[in-house]
Symmetry: C2
Subunit: 383 residues, 2 copies
């Protein structure tokens, strides 16, 4: 299995638990720590794949539930699988639909066997079981596939969290069986298990131990970026991260802000995803080395400088804040396009800089300096 | 003046009045016949400037009324002029706002001195006189600037057409004065006069003769792509085209479909613009060598081929009809982005092929063959 799903830690930083690694996939190997932009329905909103390549995107996420709904895994398979479908030859990770069980909980019924979600398109029931999820992910053909998990609505409500966490454990066992039996494992699809447990350290640990039983190619920490008690969850995650095996990639799902990234890299996290760079981009917010700015603000009206002097993205190379402000004011598509590509590049560059700092052995210093520069504007949280 | 605004006819076709030329501007010379995509507010909707360059866009349109409203000509000037503002180093043409006097006629008051339009943003009155228009266009800094014209609401209503046409003639005189006095002419901005006259051949001819009095760098035919009686207007345009001077570029405004282009190139028209490639792109329609197709159609669901086998655009190089159909179905931004770039490239390629056919002396044959291939699906009309 080690041959099918290689992961190597290449550098460690003495002052934190931060590490640099390389993760192999059927579509090439990628460096960690890594930010992976979200392309729910098979497109990172508003960004051309060729631009993603240019700004250094290594892995793109897609979503099993959404692609199962439209166009359907059978259609994606007929069109040559997710890579051919999206015109994306680099690695892809498919999220399982577990997040939709959480986010669409008002129209979802969960039982021991699986979950029945209503289609957001026409209301028809969509059945997701652990077995069905892995089969859909197998048909889609991503490089990394996520197990189906049950993410509790409120990470601080102990009984609910306990039920959801134990169900996640039982569902993982069924996911692993299907993964091994369906040919997904042999095809080189790396199954990642998801640790739940909400804000409770003991539940996190119990979930972690059960997940590790399966000796999977990678491990994810879920249920963090949601709910009110985020700081509690983050704390539980920290202690959890220290218990994950050294020789496997660690993926913190759906978190978050640049400052979260730095904190979590310092705890030994390798993989991140978040919708914020593209969502904020469409809402005319830009990440900069001096914090987040709102492009609709009158102050940029006649500003000839780029979004961020220190940025090397195609947007900053060609356009002024004044022009971007005009596009935002008039609601032009190009505003979202240009700001999204800038924001994703910002996240990638943060990771590139973090990797360089880890290799130099100065991540702690880099983290302190970067946090200070990003400043108070990053009190805003992901999602 | 010939030195400031060079135009040379380089080839003529014996079987039609079609011609190939080259038009010089401060931002480089461009070949004719030419299609110019529309970037009303300083952006061709959904297309990155770098993509426009790649697919062979030579000139981009922008709109005086819309840019005057937001962000204002003073802001554009402070940001370095329209070219720096848009990040577009190739030629730009600004339409005058005359079209808005027509299209926003329900909220416009016209008098002899000029027109008062309501702002579409906040309802405040926007005054456009011939003098103000040229001054705004001077501040914007495009390479080709259009005179302010009065385009009648109904091209077949003789009295209205006559009033509007004679007013256009008087306004042109004032435009020319401001152009000469303001430094616009000396800055190399080519002022084009617009021939009106609706569906009436005698009014078209009268307007043409008055316009030619000014010996301008170029001439446009306006008021064609509007109203019910389009075929009548087109007929009037044809006879008008034959009376325009041989040594000046001829621009047919806002027309139209690929078949119109071929017909009008055959009558000696050099320049075209139209919003259809980007508008249809956003509405999930694609131009192909076998006619226009609707990407939402179920028939493309599992189609692995590109939009058009014979197309060399970035969309056709990378994506299948099946994927584009999925993007259209799910309303993803990328659908409009990819279809718009394909459609604009389709229009450019038509012009490139037309230019090659003219140089070979076989434009008539090329036109007949292309019309047949485009077929009945092109009965649909522009705007």
């Amino acid at each position: 299995m080690t041959d099918l799903f290689p992961f190597q830690v290449e550098a460690r930083c003495p002052d934190t638990r931060a590490r640099c690694g390389r993760l192999g996939t059927p579509h090439g190997s990628v460096p960690t720590p890594l930010f992976m932009p979200v392309g729910t329905r098979g497109t990172v909103k508003g960004i051309l794949p060729e631009q993603l390549e240019r700004i250094g995107t290594h892995v793109v996420l897609a979503n099993t539930y959404h692609l199962h709904l439209r166009p359907g895994a059978d259609v994606v398979r007929e069109l040559g699988g997710l890579h051919a479908f999206m015109g994306w030859d680099r690695p892809i990770l498919t999220d399982s639909g577990g997040y939709q069980i959480f986010s669409l909980r008002d129209i979802t019924h969960i039982d021991e066997d699986g979950a029945t979600l209503k289609s957001i398109v026409d209301g028809t029931p969509i059945r997701l079981t652990p077995e069905a999820t892995i089969e859909i992910e197998h048909a889609l053909g991503a490089d990394i596939i996520m197990a189906l998990d049950h993410c509790p609505a409120d990470p601080t409500h102990r009984i609910d969290v306990e039920i959801a966490t134990e169900r996640t454990t039982r569902w993982l066992e069924r996911c692993v069986h299907t993964w091994r039996d369906s040919g997904s494992e042999q095809a080189g699809q790396a199954l990642f298990g998801i640790v739940q447990g909400g804000a409770f350290e003991d539940l996190r640990r119990r979930s972690l131990e059960a997940t590790l039983q399966h000796d999977l190619p990678g491990y994810a920490i879920g249920g963090v970026s949601v709910g009110e008690e985020r700081s509690q969850s983050l704390k539980a995650v920290e202690s959890c991260a220290s218990l994950l095996p050294e020789d496997k990639p660690r993926y913190l799902m759906g978190v978050g802000t640049p400052i979260d990234f730095l904190d979590m890299i310092a705890k030994g996290i390798d993989l991140f995803d978040c919708v914020t760079p593209t969502r904020h981009g469409r809402n005319h917010q830009a990440y900069t080395s001096f914090g987040r700015i709102n492009l609709r603000n009158q102050r940029w009206r006649t500003d000839r400088s780029p979004l961020d002097e220190s940025c090397d993205c195609p947007t900053c190379a060609r356009f002024s804040r004044g022009y971007l402000r005009h596009l935002a004011q008039t609601g032009e598509m190009l505003a979202g396009m240009l700001l999204s590509v800038h924001n994703v590049r910002f996240f990638h560059r943060l990771m590139e800089d973090a990797r360089a700092a880890i290799r130099r052995g100065t991540f702690g210093e880099f983290m302190a300096r970067t946090k200070e520069a990003l400043g108070a504007s990053e009190a805003q949280r992901c999602r």
